[in-house]
Amino acid sequence: MALIEAVDIRKRYRSGEVEAQALNGVSLSVQAGAFTALAGPSGSGKTTLLNIIGTLDRPESGTLTVAGRDVLSLSAAERAAFRLSHIGFVFQAYNLIRVLTARENVAYVQQLQGVSAAERNAVADRLLAEVGLDGMGDRRPDQLSGGQQQRIAVARALATSPDIVLADEPTANLDSHTGESLMQLMQQLNETRGTTFLISSHDPLVLAHARQVVHLRDGLVQEDASA
């Protein structure tokens, strides 16, 4: 069975009188170990779909299995616990807690899991080295560049060894050079660790790295192409 199995997901947003049909019956299947891009223009529903897969949001209808769990039936507390141990997140911006150092940010999720300080700090330092930030563990986010901050987010997303990393436009705030090296990093982590990545973007650079690209338009999957 696929790691992510979404069938006929529908999601409508209502703000006052205005209704927006964000997802119009999206079906999607992502295999374990995949490096998949979710492409589509602005407003096509990429963030909405990632949020639903990441259990941050719930659809009106459809079925969704992530890592073998019927996540739509989980309670809020169960979803929080599920996210903590099964999903890593990389957002477009504001990924880090600004009063924590790089090491503390990476270790934070393991601290939530109750892992001892020594162990989580060791994991954090190893991951920081892996994302190329060796020796920067004591810096606060505001002492780091945008690209470095995104690398820390990637390191944090991997700290709990999740089944899947969901990245919502991770390169959107980076220049193309920095974006390229972030994509290379994620691709490399996908290959060495086998972690599944689902990355939303309309950045051609991202799509170039993806092994599978899912195109969204007006809340519908257009085609399922392999690159």
Binding site: L56, D57, A81, R83, S85, V99, L100, Y108, Q111
Partner: protein, 422 residues
């Protein structure tokens, strides 16, 4: 659960993200707590003074009467055998001194003037050790054990009678049998205590002469005990009641008069206790108001801080922080904020209490009003442990209350929506 250190770390660092804002809130808190600490210590200080002044001016810490005397003030209800009571007092720990009195209301008269008087027959020397009466003498002298027909008058009473030192005064009182007995005394001293009831009414004479004049034999009406301190009073009262099979003075006037009543200072005159209750209530109202104002400030600070960090809260929620954890994180942050303010407040207030406790606060301008309440014109603040705990408890409770709303908001924050906000 995960370890608390992350709450402390996050809370502490987030507070100092805005040093000015946090500093102002902490300063307001500290000021409020310091003011409360000082106010409460003032209160405790003058209540302690009132109690002490009340007990030492005249009343003593406890009194033993024949049962029913305090309610009737009838000479018939007197202690026939004071030695028996003295025996009961023997060997009790915590007693500073004991004296006997004969107390009766009567009339003082000189040629051309009369005035109601409260006559006290006292043991001159023992009285000097027990109460402050002797110390209040402003003209002439206190009684000597060798005095016979000498009287020390309250200055208000002397004024009304238009008498001076050396003048003669006739004191009259009704005996048990309804006869009026009178006796001539010579004024040897005038006293001013500041307490109206004493200054305007007291006529203090030697006990022996009073007993003869009133045909009382060895009888007295009050055996007055001064304890080493207030803490001893309850224990002494209990032991004496047991030893003397005595009541508490509340039995009806018709009760059998062969027994005794043992009354503590607060039972004799509930005024001081009522004052204390009133002052407590007053302090708590002020405390509530100050805490309320300060907490509004804390609430405001927390809501501002949360508003700025809503995306960060969203991030935490997305990462897997549970609602309950989010809730406690915010409560903790509030508690940290209030604790910092409280510690500073207690230090400032504590210093002020210590300083003014040493030098006193001089309120002699209002001395007339004060002495009437048994207050001294110089107040020495005194911080009672109970009061300190009260303020601390109120501050922490307030912190939690002020934190509830922001915490509740944090707990029900939708991470997806919070992350979308730009």
């Amino acid at each position: 659960m995960f370890d608390l250190s992350i709450y402390l770390k996050l809370g502490w660092r987030n507070l100092w993200l805005h040093p000015l804002r946090t500093g102002l809130t902490v300063a307001a808190l500290a000021l409020g707590i310091a003011a409360l600490t000082f106010l409460s210590a003032m209160n405790d200080g003058w209540l302690q003074q009132i109690r002490t002044n009340f007990a030492l001016t005249m009343t003593g810490h406890l009194q033993i009467h024949a049962s029913g005397f305090q309610q009737t003030l009838k000479l018939a209800r007197h202690i026939k055998d004071p030695a028996q009571v003295m025996q009961a007092l023997d060997g009790l720990a915590g007693i500073h001194s004991v004296t006997s009195r004969l107390r009766v209301s009567g009339l003082a008269s000189v040629a051309g003037a009369n005035a109601g008087a409260l006559v006290y027959g006292v043991e001159a020397d023992k009285e000097r050790h027990l109460s402050r009466l002797a110390g209040f003498v402003t003209q002439g002298r206190w009684l000597l054990d060798s005095d016979d027909r000498a009287v020390v008058l309250g200055d208000g009473l002397a004024d009304r009678l238009q008498v001076a030192l050396g003048d003669k005064v006739v004191l009259m009182a009704a005996l048990d049998n309804g006869d009026i007995a009178s006796e001539v005394f010579r004024v040897r001293g005038l006293l001013h205590s500041g307490v109206l009831d004493i200054d305007d009414l007291a006529a203090v004479v030697p006990l022996g002469r009073a007993q003869q004049w009133l045909d009382m034999g060895q009888g007295v009406t009050d055996i007055v005990v001064r304890a080493d301190d207030f803490e001893q009073v309850t224990g002494l009262v209990d032991q004496l009641r047991q030893r003397l099979h005595a009541g508490d003075g509340s039995q009806s006037a018709a009760a059998d008069s062969s027994g005794y009543e043992v009354m503590s200072w607060s039972e004799i005159d509930p005024m001081a206790e009522q004052w204390s209750a009133f002052a407590d209530a007053y302090t708590w109202i002020v405390l509530a108001v100050v805490i309320l104002v300060v907490l509004a400030e804390v609430l405001n600070t927390m809501l501002m801080s949360m508003h700025e960090r809503s995306r960060e809260f969203g991030l935490m929620g997305a990462l897997g922080v549970r609602d309950s954890q989010m809730f406690f994180m915010v409560i903790w942050e509030t508690v940290i904020l209030v604790s910092v303010g409280s510690v500073l407040g207690f230090m400032t207030g504590g210093w002020a209490v210590w300083h003014f406790g040493k030098v006193g606060i001089d309120l002699s301008q209002f001395a007339v009003a004060f002495s009437f309440m048994y207050m001294s014109p110089v107040i020495h603040p005194l911080l009672a442990f109970d009061s300190l705990l009260g303020i601390l408890g109120a501050a922490i409770l307030g912190a939690v209350v002020a934190g509830l709303f922001p915490a509740w908001k944090a707990a029900r924050l939708d991470p997806a929506a919070a992350m979308r906000e730009v």
